[in-house]
């Protein structure tokens, strides 16, 4: 069904970005404008998007239609038509719902967090632009349009990581994120090109690709699927392209909450789910995705246990949870993966916002042990953080339990016991390091009284709303075993996900196992950090504390060697060979000229001689040619 509202969902934040950007230019060039103006534009436009999305969602619920909107023809090359077309099916509306909702809440939070910042207007301009790009990505009807959004969110991520651009470290982090993503994007582009050659003749939009996927050979599809997943590795911070995510925490905390936890990094999962018709036919690639996810989940969880920066711990936990999502989509359980994206968006955004509120109260102190030493009492932050930590650890009935358990059960059902084992061990580690974080920052005794610190309303309101989500979102996909209806799975039935079917006894045992490991993790964390002496902080040492030296390895393998190559090209090839050749030619001309200048000695007699020689030659020539006739 054609609808005019789809494009409005995207246009609202885009217009917000343009307005904020324009006003910000006026603000710095002409005369200062009040923050309230930027805040209003910045928060209302995502809300408009959310309302439109909600309307479409409600209509879809009652009438079960798929929305289309073709805005204009973007490219028309010799019969190949690429339209600026948006698609509102159940998958994209599902994504757009929580992207706009969580996005809106984080915009509100940012009003409080960025208060009195120099770049307040600029921040909201970028933030709105990010939301618009993300919505283009989600609502795109063909991979080309999807790629516009894909790159758009990458640019915004880069701009926002290096938001405090006066610090060289932040700029480096921004560059790192951008460059590492570029590696993934190359894979994505090549994947789209492969698809274009395989299926391009019958139309490049998702619907016709799905209908004609049988025309291509399995090997072509496998290549395309693998290349597209390389793109997802970059965007969703999976091994081996994950190194940018922890460094991306250099940006302001709302950025970390929205871009690097709730929405942008899940784009890879969304993309794989969007190409479900492709991945269903190539199970080997799917299995590869699942293994990459499992490995990323484990690696990130292990690193997180030794980190001391609160935001980096959360970043590694994000990567770890993304690993779970890839396990699910890799094994064909698309709706379970997306359900984890959904619950994760709530509790991870909340955790980041809580961390941000605590960091703000402590004047930008991010080391968890130092935060403990100067702890202040923020009841709302503490309570919501606890909810978030429980949710991510996977304790029922909080949302994280249902989504994570579904993924683990899926791995078990597929008889991928290695993945299941890694998953369950990672669940243990997750509970451990998240509660380590909680106990150190909020509980461990620090030897003096803590003062009450008030929390801004713009910060506490989103925290509370998300806390409700983190507690209850899990019930949306309540398992049948407890009399639930799997509403999310039903809603996303179009993806053709593999369904979970196992005996009730097995299901109970699996649930018990995951709860047990989570509880064990909490217990270990409590034993070690419940009464931890925060005046003697841990330091990041050893092989785990140094993140397995992966950064150093990449630096040595790629950065240093590339630098060597470019130095070679600069100093040897360019300076010596190319310049040498060109300079040789010019030097020869100069030398020749100097020799010729010797003839011009100012003496009239010699000039007369030259004239004589010249004229003799001319006449000789004329004479011979005339005689020749």
């Amino acid at each position: 069904m054609h609808t005019p509202y789809l494009v409005l969902i995207i246009l609202a934040p885009l217009i917000g970005a343009i307005l904020n950007g324009g006003f910000y230019m006026y603000h710095i060039k002409k005369k200062p404008l009040p923050e309230l103006l930027f805040a209003l534009i910045g928060t209302i436009t995502p809300f408009i998007s959310f309302i439109f999305t909600l309307c479409l969602f409600l209509e879809m619920r009652s009438t079960d239609v798929i929305f289309h909107q073709s805005v204009f023809t973007w490219l028309d090359i010799n019969g190949l038509v690429i339209e600026m077309k948006f698609l509102g099916d159940k998958l994209s509306i599902f994504m757009a719902m929580f992207v706009t909702f969580v996005g809106w809440l984080i915009h509100i939070y940012a009003v409080g967090y960025m208060k009195e910042d120099e770049g307040f207007g600029k921040f909201f301009a970028y933030f709105n632009l990010f939301l618009a790009s993300m919505l283009i990505l989600v609502l795109a009807d063909n991979p080309i349009i999807l790629f516009i959004g894909w790159e758009g969110v990458g640019v915004c991520s880069y701009l926002l990581i290096s938001f405090y651009y006066t610090d060289a470290q932040n700029v480096m982090a921004g560059n790192k994120a951008f460059i590492v993503n570029r590696v993934g994007d190359l894979g994505f582009i090549l994947g789209v090109v492969t698809l274009f050659f395989a299926l391009g003749k019958t139309g490049l939009d998702f619907a016709s690709m799905e209908a004609n996927v049988g025309l291509a050979t399995t090997s072509t599809l496998a290549v395309a699927g693998f290349l597209l997943f390389v793109g997802a590795m970059g965007k969703s911070a999976q091994v081996p392209l994950y190194v940018w995510l922890p460094d991306a925490m250099a940006g302001p905390t709302p950025i970390s909450a929205l871009i690097h936890a709730a929405t942008m990094v899940t784009a890879g999962v969304y993309m794989v789910a969007r190409f479900h018709f492709l991945y269903t036919g190539i199970e080997e690639i799917g299995l590869f995705i699942a293994y990459i996810g499992a490995f990323s989940a484990l690696l990130a969880a292990v690193i997180a246990t030794r980190q001391t920066d609160i935001k980096k711990i959360l970043a590694y936990s994000t990567m770890s949870q993304l690993g779970y999502m890839f396990i699910a989509v890799g094994l064909g359980f698309y709706s379970s993966g997306l359900f984890h994206v959904f619950t994760h968006a709530f509790f991870k955004a909340m955790l980041f916002m809580g961390a941000g509120a605590a960091i703000l109260a402590l004047h930008h102190e991010q080391n968890i042990f130092k935060m403990a030493q100067h702890r202040v009492y923020q009841p709302i932050v503490k309570a919501t953080f606890l909810i978030g930590v429980i949710a991510i650890a996977g304790i029922p009935p909080f949302s994280g339990f249902f989504s994570k358990d579904a993924i683990l059960a899926a791995a078990f059902q597929k008889e991928e016991y290695l993945i299941y084992g890694i998953g369950i061990f990672t669940a243990f580690l997750t509970a451990f390091y998240m509660f380590r974080l909680y106990f150190v920052v909020f509980v461990a005794p620090n030897g003096h009284d803590v003062h009450y610190a008030s929390t801004d309303k713009t910060i506490s309101f989103p925290l509370l709303v998300l806390a409700i989500g983190a507690v209850f979102a899990g019930f949306l996909n309540f398992p049948a075993i407890f009399g639930g209806e799997h509403q999310v799975d039903t809603w996303l039935a179009q993806l053709g996900s593999t369904t979970l079917h196992m005996s009730h006894a097995t299901e109970y045992i699996l649930m018990f196992a995951s709860v047990a490991v989570a509880a064990l993790g909490i217990l270990v964390a409590y034993k070690k950090y419940g009464k931890f002496d925060v005046s003697k902080p841990e330091i990041e040492d050893g092989i785990i504390g140094n993140k397995f030296y992966v950064d150093e390895m990449y630096d040595y393998l790629f950065v240093k060697s590339l630098k060597k190559v470019s130095t070679f090209f600069d100093k040897v090839v360019d300076d010596k060979v190319v310049d040498g050749m060109i300079m040789l030619v010019s030097r020869e001309f100069v030398d020749f000229g100097k020799k010729l200048a010797f003839l011009q000695n100012g003496n009239v007699r010699f000039y007369a001689l030259y004239m004589l020689i010249g004229m003799s030659c001319a006449f000789l020539y004329l004479y011979t040619t005339l005689i020749g006739q």
Binding site: K594, Q600, N601, G602, N603, R605, A608, L612
Partner: protein, 103 residues
């Protein structure tokens, strides 16, 4: 016919002597005389061909050349005097002010 060839040969020899004089000799007076020699070699040519064709035009031009050469002599001699005053020499190799030194 032989007389035409003889005259032409003589005038060409005279012209060549003039040219060689201009190029090879360094004394300004000799250079000047060589130039006059070339003019008169050309005059001889003009007169020879005028006579050969029974046409007076060439003779008229040679008379004009003689007149102009006389006027030119006046200017040339005064220029030589000025040159001599400035350098005290009559050697053409001294007068190389248009030469630009190469670095």
């Amino acid at each position: 016919m032989t007389s035409l060839l003889g005259y032409a040969t003589i005038s060409m020899i005279l012209f060549s002597i003039g040219v060689i004089g201009v190029i090879a000799r360094r004394n300004i007076f000799i250079v000047y005389m060589s130039i006059e020699l070339m003019l008169n070699a050309i005059n001889l040519f003009l007169v020879t061909f005028a006579r050969y064709h029974f046409n007076m035009d060439g003779q008229i031009i040679s008379i004009m050349v003689v007149a102009i050469a006389a006027a030119e002599a006046a200017i040339f001699l005064s220029v030589i005097i000025l040159l001599f005053r400035s350098k005290g020499k009559l050697d053409t190799d001294v007068f190389t002010v248009l030469k630009q030194e190469v670095e």
